[in-house]
């Protein structure tokens, strides 16, 4: 049963990822991205990270992809892009070759069973599964005790992001007045 869940969601994740990279229309790419994010959420559930799976669906599929689609529609850039022409000769084979080399480097420690090279020391913060506490309780206990300061820092980060978005998206004052006069003329 676990293998079936893993196989199906891994296939969804990979098909979605390839769809993002290869689709000519940005809207199709965004929809493929939703598939990938849902597959990742299923894999989170399969590894008993229930809270993160829910947050993944709400934040990524619910907010971030909608924001992408909103910007695509707002800017009117949903026309198909011609992928036949290679803008820089030999760039694509070089990119794929570089990617395969990187994949080989990533898979090497996994293939030899030496994933401690990637992960470091086991069990630093607290157990994730042993015991009877639910997942949310464990997360909250670690987040609001040991990681309280980083948690507060993220709130500052979000405020900075909001202010940055407002500053970036604001029109300069002169052009705004121009728009109003144009609108009033007829």
């Amino acid at each position: 049963m676990d293998w079936v869940v893993f196989g199906v969601s891994a296939a969804v994740v990979l098909v979605g990822a390839l769809g993002v990279v290869t689709s000519r229309n940005p809207v199709h790419a965004a929809l493929s991205l939703v598939g990938t994010l849902f597959g990742i959420a299923i894999l989170f559930v399969a590894q008993r990270a229930d809270f993160l799976a829910v947050v993944q669906v709400i934040v990524y599929a619910g907010a971030i992809v909608v924001l992408f689609l909103f910007v695509i529609m707002l800017l009117g850039v949903d026309q198909a892009e011609n992928l036949e022409v290679d803008p820089l000769v030999g760039q694509r084979p070089a990119a794929v070759g570089l990617g395969l080399a990187g994949l080989a480097c990533l898979l090497l420690p996994i293939a030899f069973g030496k994933w401690e090279w990637l992960s470091g020391q086991p069990s630093v913060v607290g157990p994730a599964h042993t015991g009877t506490d639910p997942n949310v309780t464990r997360l909250a206990r670690a987040l609001f005790a040991r990681y309280l300061l980083p948690f507060e820092a993220t709130s500052v980060l979000l405020v900075i992001a909001v202010i940055g978005a407002v500053v970036l998206a604001r029109r300069p004052l002169g052009s705004e007045r121009l728009d109003e006069t144009v609108r009033e003329e007829p």
């Binding site: 676990d2 898979l107 994730a128 992001a161």
Partner: protein
């Protein structure tokens, strides 16, 4: 019958590489941004897998913070993209290589 963590790590590596190759290959700024999201998700999957393998909740805490940072990053990045497109419509990544207006 649980799936060994190595399978999840392999899937996450493949997902990360697909995202990285897409970032290098595509020229549409929005699609490049989506490829960054793919890479972030691959890393999130790795963290959750290690949280399971090492029985340590710290991996899931990191994923929580990555989610917050990704949300902030998308907001600011899309703001930048909107500002660029307002100046010149239909710009690709090749057209904005001058680092000046």
């Amino acid at each position: 019958m649980t799936v060994p963590g190595a399978w999840y790590l392999t899937l996450a590596s493949i997902l990360f590489v697909v995202g990285a190759v897409g970032l290098l290959v595509r020229r549409n700024v929005l699609v490049m941004f989506m490829c960054v999201e793919l890479m972030l998700n691959a890393v999130n999957l790795t963290f959750v897998t290690f949280a399971r393998m090492l029985d340590d909740i710290g991996g899931q805490i990191v994923v929580f913070f990555v989610l917050v940072v990704a949300a902030a990053e998308v907001v600011v990045g899309l703001g930048i993209i909107v500002a660029i497109f307002r100046r010149r419509a239909g710009a690709t990544a090749d057209d904005i290589s001058l680092l000046k207006g």
